[in-house]
Symmetry: C2
Subunit: 497 residues, 2 copies
């Protein structure tokens, strides 16, 4: 008697977000939807903050239309999204009625499962979103962002799990965005939650594969009782992405567990994305192997890249090591937040500031807000001296209430703002698009009628541009040369004949 | 109380064999040897048939000198090699005294651990080599080639383990060259061997990472009692290679197992090979992700590539599917040999012949020999009709004795042959080099005095040739264009300004 392990397929959201800079166009997903719908996944993750942002910023695609398309093409599947709690899909706290409206509209357009997290693991920041999901009768999944610090313990995670379940969550997710979850803690946390809260508490485990060790962690989580794990079809897996769906299936063969996924469907999905991936190779993550250094620095890969960019822009590329050593100190001063959007950027940038300008000589606005509680509570006490400095610099006092409690109703104002935008179609969806990404939405609404603009390249062109053969194939756009014709030198612009 | 898991580091042999077509030059290994020697590995695999072949075929390096260099640079390490049983490092059966001489000379030049396998798992074919290793007081490791078939069972593997231990082996290796070993059988086989033969029987597990699932298999093997596992430093790992050493270390954290490897040394080894790898990118395996299709076809990746080449050469590239379906039938007719060098090539080529010319209309000489027992015994009965055909075609009878029993002493003759070669230095080592690869050795001995010829490329050149940035950087040599200047067309040669 085998226990069935449910699988969430990530290829339509986190996989291409992690591997192809979130650039995949809907048209490249559509041909796979029928197979995805029939393969037997528990859910299909297909929507989130970065995909929404990318739709309107890079692809001139209406993210709501994308969602409706998924709904139409995958009628038998649970569609799943990643929701940043009170931040929804954006980077600030929204007032509660906006949260309600967003969830309502997402559900109306086809969303089934709302995986809801807060970057600080402050449960108050997911409370409203979860209540909203329950109100529209959808699946509310409460999320624990997994991280490592002297204060993070199995007991602490169990407590957070209990708090989330007390909110009425239908399931829990252990979210390991940096691939830090090793096999033993994966086992211990799942086991402890099940033992403390009951075997019928549904636990999903989401791991990235960056460190090369997390397929083993998924195995251990399953042995400890996890109900579901996430994976991505092999042709869009590994590196900073996720463990391959097919490997997961094979891993469980003849164990006490099974996935019951349809092999032939998986093969077709794999073959499809194998042809799509090269079209986006110009966006491909340069990391393809494993990055085990993360275990030592505990700094996620994407965050290191960001900090390096900042240092280079300041002409301080040689300060990398100091910054890497400063990050853990800043994180400690901030009360050991998990390092995930946006806390990873906030901590990383402050570490850069500290190294370049002296310790806490200048605080970024965001770091000051973090220290003063405007993002929520952290697990550890925050450094009193730095808090005092944040107060002095911002002329704001620290808070301990739920940050969104300080906000006043803003839906009407968002509607008014949206109405002023060219191309606004009068829908609540458009208001929400504006609310999420105000700077980008105006341009998108104006250009929307032009239709989707894929940023993919012809795979043959890509192959020619990166392939081994030399010669004219490499030249894609006019290039200026010094060309000598019949002994006379000319400045010429050249394109393939 | 943690149990220590011993690690064999593969970077100097199988890792670059699997990922860089065995092309790495000694000079690119030397700078890492001090760290490898001090990192705490149980052994360092650094020699085998393909590296020996590559040394004399491509790198103008004396493989014996390479071995002596390793011995000198890694005085604290067990040096390990992969030995093809009675085939030694070549592709045919050698007469017993040649086997003795080879082992003796390898030991004399510094080898400690002889991992000895036979492609058919015919224990008679490793018997002599293992006795020779014992005679020179070195570590004899008997190897089970892991494969899957209706006849391969846990009990069968236990029986083979017993046969190997009865030969006096110091340890056993479960060798999973095609990454087919899933977690459950890994657990079951190790567990059963330990239970049947005793907990003190040392078991090493060697897995490739091709299918993405074998790090979990190593975990399960360890849980079942495996004493040692193989891995490769992360910067030369994964794909058709092996699981990353650092991931393995991290995997075991806080479990009941530990590796006791030196993290700082690992980091330095990793960094070194991260700089070396790009120099060989032109030899790099095109497979970087996972290949789970192998589970279905049970045809190792390298074998598929070979067959595709053969089909293309015959203008029959469209027959791939038929050949893939023919392979399991041919394998069955041949008594279910494991598919590993040379059985994989023999079975694959016959499958191509069958598809192109009709079933067993023509047998390759090697396949006929395989059917007639000249490679040894197979686990399953071989197809009587095909055996009859092999007899008719070759005018040879089938044999059941150990193939090498039919050979007459050949050492003197090999010496005579070697003496006739230009550049022969009179050593037994040179005779053995000639014996292993007679066609290649003559050219090598002649050119040896020129010294090593690396086939690596300058990493900057490689980066420039394959890099992402557009424009003139791509153009390395003058290119001919049709260029229109002021409305007039010219044939022009163009070089970067």
């Amino acid at each position: 008697m085998q226990r069935k392990i449910d699988i969430t397929e990530l290829v339509l959201r986190d996989a291409h977000q992690s591997l192809l800079a979130t650039r995949m166009a809907l048209e490249d997903m559509v041909p796979a939807c029928e197979d995805i719908d029939a393969a037997g996944f528990w859910s299909v993750e297909c929507w989130g903050g970065a995909t929404f942002d990318s739709c309107i910023r890079f692809l001139n695609e209406d993210p709501w239309e994308r969602l409706r398309t998924f709904r139409r093409l995958m009628p038998n599947s649970r569609l799943q999204m990643l929701l940043r709690g009170q931040n929804l899909l954006g980077y600030r706290h929204y007032e509660d009625t906006v949260v309600d409206k967003f969830v309502e509209k997402a559900a109306e357009n086809g969303m089934d499962v709302f995986r809801t997290f807060d970057a600080l693991n402050d449960v108050r920041n997911v409370e409203r979103a979860i209540a909203a999901v329950k109100r529209v009768d959808k699946h509310a999944q409460g999320t624990i962002c997994y991280t490592i610090s002297p204060l993070h313990t199995v007991e602490g995670y169990v407590k957070m799990a209990r708090d989330l379940m007390d909110l009425g969550c239908d399931s829990l997710c252990i979210k390991d965005m940096a691939a830090l979850l090793k096999p033993q803690p994966a086992y211990d946390i799942v086991k402890a939650i099940k033992e403390e809260l009951g075997q019928d508490v549904r636990i999903h485990v989401h791991c990235h594969s960056t460190t090369g060790v997390t397929l083993v962690s998924l195995m251990k989580a399953i042995e400890a009782g996890a109900d579901a794990v996430d994976s991505a079809i092999s042709s869009l897996s590994l590196g900073p992405g996720h463990n391959p769906t097919e490997s997961l299936v094979e891993m469980l063969e003849n164990t006490g567990y099974t996935t019951d996924l349809d092999d032939d469907r998986l093969t077709r999905i794999r073959d499809h994305f194998a042809t799509i991936r090269p079209k986006y190779s110009h966006f491909m993550s340069s990391i393809t192997g494993v990055e085990t250094e993360i275990f030592k620095s505990q700094i996620p890969g994407g965050m290191i890249t960001n900090m390096e960019d900042q240092l280079r822009q300041q002409g301080a590329g040689d300060k990398r090591k100091e910054v890497m050593e400063e990050v853990p100190r800043v994180r400690k001063a901030a009360g050991y937040p998990p390092l995930v959007t946006p806390s990873s950027q906030i901590v990383g940038t402050q570490a850069v500031f500290n190294v370049l300008m002296g310790e806490y000589k200048v605080l970024t606005a965001e770091f000051a807000d973090l220290m003063l509680g405007y993002y929520g509570e952290t697990i550890g006490e925050r450094d009193a001296k730095v808090i005092a400095q944040a107060e002095a610099q911002t002329k704001k006092g620290p808070i301990t209430v739920r940050p969104a409690d300080l906000l006043t109703p803003e839906w009407e104002e968002l509607c008014t703002q949206a109405q002023a935008l060219e191309g606004f179609d009068g829908s609540d969806e458009d208001v929400l698009t504006h609310a999420m990404f105000p700077k980008v939405a105006s341009g998108f609404l104006k250009a929307r009628a032009d239709g989707p603009q894929s940023v993919a390249k012809d795979p043959n062109e890509v192959a020619a541009a990166t392939g081994g053969s030399s010669g004219a194939d490499h030249v894609r756009t006019p290039i200026k040369y010094q060309v000598t014709v019949n002994g006379t030198s000319h400045d010429v612009s050249v394109a393939p004949a």
